[in-house]
Assembly symmetry: C2
Homo-oligomer: 341 residues x 2
């Protein structure tokens, strides 16, 4: 049990390598800040299909196919796929992955899925259960709006706290310890619910969960924010980012210098009409699979704490007056396999 | 990588022990064949709440609380909870588990969730990431009918192939290798889709996935059906059971002597109006957590292959004309930690 350190964190004994990553995104994402960093972009929101749901699924399928091709491996080489998405019964993942003959674990972590899938994929390799594993997720603006809010045709007004669901998918191939970057630590979140009921203010709902997991990570590992070049949350957006930076000092943690949020990086908030920023499983996935990992491979970033946050409500629970339970999972990615401990 | 044997199976190095199990079920389940074996039964379908969804969540919360009490452990002693359910965005699990301060991995495997959660919980312990872990799931007849088919008030006719979603929840506490029964092998399913589109005939949709995983288990491990006292699927029901027994001989596997299905055990099919049998995540969960594990603890069963099957569609994918992708995960539970290999 030397791998478990503290309440919520494990230190991987033989840190798995991030062998390869692949990102695919839509038109609005192409027009954003990371537009030229994605492996592939698709102008057509329907991606040649007949529904938003089928399109989202095709984004995910294309991401996994693209990943395997880029990494020069076949599906026979993959030990497990860990994936999930926002659609009811995670249908984007299931229809995408039915084409791959790979043992599959389905996950639901809402927008925390990239970190959740990465955590379990890394544990499956470090635990000796697989040589390689794929972690993947997707989201789509149109399928998410239709399912969680209003049909697009309704033209509902979006409040300033609303975020824009990223259309896109990210997939990562992990393998046994070989070359950097490595997954070295995993801090798994607990469900946190501070009573926020506004489904148009996800940032406020998710910030306390992010704070809880970040504080646990530092307490469990003994690391300090200075040990990181970048501490990045999945999709708190403008509102959630401010709240997180308000909450953490009271917990004895100051991450101001290293902190950013994928929802603020992916779009140009001044020019693109995305209100509080990007969101959705795809937001942190395509940001990680483009800019963040590219910068690590270039040596511009060496130690990254990637925290994806999820709001775990559904439309019925909101209508039944429930608040929004949230979760955040953190993964430490480093160009060095050894750590400071 | 000595743990991975064959394409889809892992043999656990230090097989985790099933420390404790807890089952809670509803009125119809109490009137069925296993009625006196559940730890707790609840007459009121609403379980004192105001909605079927809240009721289902309370079943799951009560199962986990009951489990911890029965095992004399506190939530601080639990390394992880792995859980999921059938509701949109797995809301039964999230609202149940927000009360527990335990690191949580959310899963979606439809009715395969008991085997999926058990697989990952066992791997988290064998991999050295936790001392103990909880695997749990729930389902509820009324919330499932409302979400997947029709409002109960509509009084829709159920075809003979339809199954009855079990109202109940099962939870299992796994711990490090100590006393029997043990989780010794895990065979993780691939998604199988043979083109069935009828959401009222889940047994037919899921049978090919069950056949695929069972055949993989025997191929990977070298075990034969004779090495088992019981090979039991989650909820194929009458129709699916017959199809499975039709399919397997063509794959070189004959399990007729050892085979049964939780959906056929849980209800009295002659007297209770459940058509093709029981279904839902709760079906295999409460059957495993009552009769199966009780019989293992009594020495009446020594080697069990537990295969939970899931149909991974949602209502939109059915309306959009898609077929039903399915998955089956198998877990070998044995009173002996060593195996025949």
């Amino acid at each position: 049990m030397h791998k478990r350190i503290g309440n919520q964190t494990v230190r991987l004994e033989n840190p798995p390598s991030v062998l390869c990553e692949y990102s695919i995104a839509g038109k609005k994402e192409k027009e954003g800040n990371l537009g030229n960093l994605f492996d592939e972009t698709v102008e057509d929101s329907l991606f040649g299909t007949k529904s938003w749901e089928k399109a989202e699924s095709k984004f995910l399928k294309t991401a996994i196919s693209g990943l395997l091709k880029k990494a020069s491996v076949t599906e026979d080489d993959v030990g497990y796929i860990f994936a999930g998405d926002l659609l009811n019964q995670c249908s984007s993942s299931h229809f995408a992955i039915r084409g791959f003959k790979v043992p599959f674990f389905g996950l639901y972590g809402a927008c925390s899925t990239m970190a959740e899938s990465l955590s379990l994929a890394a544990m499956s390799i470090d635990g000796g259960f697989a040589e390689t594993a794929v972690a993947a997720t997707s989201s789509h603006f149109c399928s998410a709006e239709k399912q969680f809010r209003f049909p697009l045709e309704y033209g509902g007004q979006r409040p300033p706290t609303a975020q824009w669901t990223v259309t896109g998918s990210g997939a990562i191939l992990l393998g046994k310890y070989s070359a950097p970057p490595y997954i070295t630590h995993i801090t798994t979140g607990k469900i946190v619910d501070n009573g926020i009921c506004d489904a148009n203010n996800m940032g406020a709902a998710m910030a306390p969960a992010a704070a809880d997991t970040i504080a646990a990570h530092f307490e469990d590992t003994g690391f300090s924010p200075e040990d990181y070049d970048l501490i990045i949350t999945g999709d708190l957006g403008k509102v959630g980012k401010e709240l997180l930076l308000d909450l953490l000092p009271g917990m004895g943690v100051d991450i101001k210098k290293q902190y950013n949020d994928c929802g603020l990086i992916i779009y140009n908030l001044d020019k693109q009409d995305v209100h509080s920023g990007g969101s959705g499983c795809g937001c942190s996935a395509v940001t990680l699979c483009s800019k963040i990992l590219r910068d690590m491979r270039r040596g511009e970033l060496n130690n990254v704490l990637f925290i994806a946050t999820g709001a775990l409500m559904n439309t019925s629970t909101c209508l039944q007056g429930e608040s929004i339970p949230c979760i955040a999972h953190a993964v430490r990615i480093s160009t060095k396999a050894g750590d400071l401990q």
